[in-house]
């Protein structure tokens, strides 16, 4: 089973996790920029964090044979803090980097006007930098948050096929499915989705535009729940090809829209994918 985790916060994980993930078949990850638990008080803290996401963390991952890419953004929660607003000004520099394959996580936390303007500004950055967008959905008042997110996405002019709406569940899946956006599901030990519930959802809605992630971060989470979901699919009658589509080809297709995905050394086989370099040296 080859696994591409499209949303996992490796900065919060240990080297033991990398070892176990590699053993479980995780060959590629995307790490979105997000809130670190402890609020940041200045732009410099973000700069160091973003530098780590395009510098140290990819190197650390490579030690375990895992290809690491990042998404960069000012997250919705900290978009409310006036001390962090100027992070928006340093984003363009990072959105040109090779290892950055989307703008994210953007979207809503408490649905304030500050979050509105940061969300809109960053969808525009996604368009101007030719990148897809990763949209976080709020824990509280989720349905309304998703409706409002879809409205902002629609107004921005970004192609809905270049947007993933994340942290969906049984209640919110249909809203997003009808929008043309990709469907992101975070599999957690307790909250959000479980492997068994995820299998039921795919039975009902299929595997089209579905992205499954562990989102593993500093909270109670498990970086192997992508693998557990793949196994639950197999024991429930899904075939190897279905599992490969959801856990490998779908994330490759979504982030491949950046033209910057480089899965060299990720054990992936096949030809260069949509202009992305699969082999070191690329297709040029």
């Amino acid at each position: 089973m080859r696994i591409f985790d499209p949303h996992i916060h490796m900065t919060s994980r240990t080297t033991d996790d990398y070892v176990r993930m590699a053993d479980a078949g995780v060959r590629a990850v995307v790490e979105p920029a997000f809130w670190l638990g402890q609020p940041r008080t200045n732009v410099g803290s973000f700069v160091d964090y973003f530098d780590s996401l395009v510098g140290w963390e990819p190197y650390r991952a490579s030690q375990f044979g895992v290809r690491h890419h990042a998404t960069i953004a000012l997250n919705p929660k900290e978009a409310n803090d006036p001390r962090c607003r100027d992070v928006l000004d340093v984003l363009p520099r990072y959105l040109d980097k090779d290892g950055v394959v989307a703008v994210g996580e953007i979207g809503y936390d408490s649905m304030t006007s500050e979050e509105d303007s940061a969300f809109e500004a960053q969808l525009n950055l996604a368009i101007t930098h030719g990148l897809p967008a990763l949209v976080h959905t709020p824990h509280r008042d989720k349905v309304r948050g998703i409706r409002r997110s879809l409205a902002v996405i629609g107004a921005s002019g970004i192609d809905s096929g270049r947007v993933v709406i994340d942290h969906l569940n049984e209640v919110t899946v249909e809203l997003v499915r009808n929008s043309g956006c990709w469907l992101g599901f975070s599999i957690y030990p307790e909250t959000k989705m479980s492997p068994a519930r995820m299998v039921e959802l795919m039975r009902r809605y299929g595997t089209d535009r579905v992205l499954i992630n562990s989102a593993a971060d500093w909270g109670h989470s498990d970086p192997l729940l992508t693998r557990a979901t793949g196994e639950a699919m197999l024991t429930s009658g899904f075939g190897d090809d279905d599992v490969d589509r959801v856990l490998w080809r779908n994330p490759m297709e979504f982030y491949g829209q950046s033209g910057r995905l480089d899965l060299t050394g990720a054990g992936g086989t096949g030809l260069p994918f949509a202009g992305n370099s699969i082999r070191r040296g690329g297709s040029r």
Binding site: V54, G55, D96, D98, R280
Partner: protein
């Protein structure tokens, strides 16, 4: 040491020449354009290893040509700026380019930063021809770091000439620690230690007779 015209020739078979010419020209006219050109150099110019320029990849060569196209008075400032804001690939390219650019000791801070890093790609890039400007104490630390990180010592420019008795002592201490822990010393480090010790013995003989 490789020359700029050799890098340019090496790229002729690898990189889209129209894009490269446009990028180099734009940087000469508008230096700030180097930020985007530098960032996109690998995905636009390729990443292939250059067969005619050993240990250089296409993106490193492209980035070097971009830096070399900047107005001389601004080269050093931009090189530092691009390093501090660069990802690992961009940092490595700046480090490799330094020896080919009109810059001086003010850029040594970049080498110091790379030597402090734990990324072998940066460490080796810092130990090219520009490292002749490093003072001996820092240079020895960098060589020792290569041994600890199992980075092949043939990547260190000028190793045989610069290795001194103090480096020999440091290596022999490492060898002692490794022996106590029942861990192996890399073969190239043992060879370096042996060659330092034999040259010290030769000097001692010269002094005696």
């Amino acid at each position: 040491m490789i020359r700029l015209d050799e890098l340019r020739t090496a790229l002729s078979a690898v990189t889209d020449q129209a894009w490269l010419a446009d990028a180099v020209a734009s940087v000469a006219v508008d230096p700030a354009a180097v930020e985007l050109r530098f960032a996109e150099a690998a995905r636009r110019g390729g990443r292939a290893e250059l067969s005619v320029a050993p240990r250089w990849s296409a993106d490193e060569a492209v980035r070097t040509l971009l830096l070399a196209a900047l107005p001389v008075a601004e080269t050093s400032t931009w090189a530092q700026n691009l390093y501090w804001h660069g990802d690992a690939g961009e940092k490595r390219a700046v480090l490799k380019a330094l020896a080919l650019l009109p810059v001086g000791d003010e850029c040594l801070v970049l080498l110091h930063d790379a030597i402090r890093s734990n990324d072998p790609r940066l460490l080796t890039a810092a130990l090219g021809p520009f490292a002749r400007r490093l003072d001996q104490a820092m240079w020895r630390q960098a060589v020792l770091k290569c041994v600890f990180m199992a980075v092949p010592l043939n990547q260190v420019e000028d190793l045989a000439r610069r290795a001194d008795s103090e480096l020999g002592r440091m290596l022999s201490d490492v060898a002692e620690e490794r022996a106590a822990a029942d861990r192996k010393m890399p073969d190239d480090a043992l060879e370096l230690l042996a060659s330092i010790e034999s040259s010290i013995n030769l000097e001692a003989c010269d002094a005696h007779f």
